[in-house]
């Protein structure tokens, strides 16, 4: 059943769509090198980088592998590897 006027009542329901499957390269964040500048956090188009218990981690369910985080990390704490390798 489509809702009246095709209204979507569940905010942020796009989370059901796991875009992590789009990834070709995987960014890997080395928490020891991280200086918490928040560059990766704020520039991620997916909001896939989260702060958990004071540490930044990458949510691979949604990370599309754009690698902006790799490019923007000022201390090279994030590196990339090919998916499936």
């Amino acid at each position: 059943m489509v809702t009246i006027g095709a209204i979507i009542y569940e905010p942020g329901s796009s989370i059901r769509n796991k875009t992590g499957s789009w990834r070709v390269f995987r960014p890997i964040l080395d928490a020891d090198k991280c200086i918490k500048c928040e560059n990766c956090y704020i520039f991620c188009p997916e909001g896939a980088i989260q702060e958990v218990d004071g540490k930044f981690t990458i949510n691979y369910d949604y990370c599309k592998g754009c690698l902006i985080c790799v490019n923007e990390c000022p201390v090279n704490a994030i590196t990339k590897v090919r998916e499936g390798k």
């Binding site: 095709a6 569940e10 796009s14 989370i15 796991k18 990834r23 928040e38 754009c66 690698l67 902006i68």
Partner: protein
């Protein structure tokens, strides 16, 4: 520390800790490295929960709301391509009326209209001009990726000089877009509205502070945020922020605000970088010769001089 270094030049004082609330959910269908998604994320972080958004047809709308899924965690409405500002006028007026007559909306609510450059500078121009002139308390965000990206990179009024698009191709006779970028911020400023600003996603604090200011100011506000597009501009996805930064550092996209008619640069590069660095990273400019770039450099130099950059 590229980014932190940039911040020192911004006039807003303390480095902010970015709000952790996310009102723009993951799982949207934007390209990897999408600048428009960054725009939406930053705007909502700055504006907060008590916000209603309107959206013109375009990339941002299409990629965020294929039924039955939405990336939006604030109330959001899309109707058509050319009328985001008109719809926002209706939303804002309804809030006013229902607040006054029925005691609803008992808090400040930000009404934010999103439109791409086509939906703003071209087909949506009349509706935008009308809404601004009428003085609605709305914030209009033009996410500027300098062409019609949703339909496959056709030129818009906001496409810059010499950029190649599918409708301003680099041919043997015409070298890409033959007209300069339409100066929307100044056109909006000419409406006499209280707040106009330019921004770039590569400078998130600057951008978010401007969004906050625009929300706080009563009356219409217009922010044009440059948002590099990996698909339309032709560069690797990881360069989205870097290219945006170069647009600002070269003076191609100056960051300023016009508050109650007063112009102020919000960021001034210590020394402007040559535009060649920016140009050579993008396929849309690959047809340019060194002479072309030199001509373009002169044009940018002239504009920067006018702005005091």
């Amino acid at each position: 520390m590229k980014f932190l270094k940039n911040l020192k030049n911004i006039n807003y004082g303390e480095i902010m800790q970015f709000p952790r609330e996310e009102y723009f959910a993951p799982g949207h269908r934007g390209c990897a490295g999408c600048g428009a998604a960054i725009v939406a994320r930053l705007v909502l972080k700055a504006a907060g929960k008590d916000t209603i958004c309107t959206n013109a047809t375009g990339c941002l709308e299409v990629m965020t709301t294929p039924y039955p899924e939405t990336a939006w965690r604030v109330p959001w409405i899309h109707t058509a391509f050319e009328n985001s500002a008109a719809v926002a006028s209706g939303v804002e007026s309804a809030i006013k009326a229902l607040r006054r007559k029925r005691g609803k909306f008992n808090k400040k609510i930000n009404v934010i209209a999103f439109g791409g450059d086509g939906g703003t500078a071209d087909i949506g121009f009349q509706a935008l001009s009308g809404a601004m002139e009428r003085g609605h308390d709305i914030v209009y965000i033009m996410y500027d990726n300098e062409a019609y990206m949703n339909t496959g990179v056709q030129r818009s009024g906001s496409t810059p000089l010499m950029a190649a698009t599918t409708t301003s191709p680099a041919g043997s006779k015409i070298r890409g877009e033959d007209r300069p970028k339409k100066d929307m911020p100044l056109i909006m400023a000419a409406h006499g509205i209280p707040y106009v600003a330019t921004a770039c996603i590569s400078y998130p604090e600057d951008f978010m502070n401007k969004v906050k200011k625009a929300c706080e100011i009563e009356g219409p506000a217009y922010i044009q945020v440059l948002q590099p597009c990996t698909t339309g501009w032709g560069y690797p996805a990881e360069k989205t922020i870097e290219i945006g930064r170069l647009a600002v550092e070269t003076g191609i996209w100056p960051l300023y605000e016009i508050e109650n008619g007063e112009f102020r640069l919000t960021y001034k590069p210590a020394k402007r970088k040559p535009i060649k660095e920016y140009i050579r990273m993008q396929k849309r400019y690959r047809h340019l010769t060194d002479e072309d770039i030199e001509r373009l450099q002169k044009y940018i130099d002239e504009r920067c001089r006018e702005l005091g950059l």
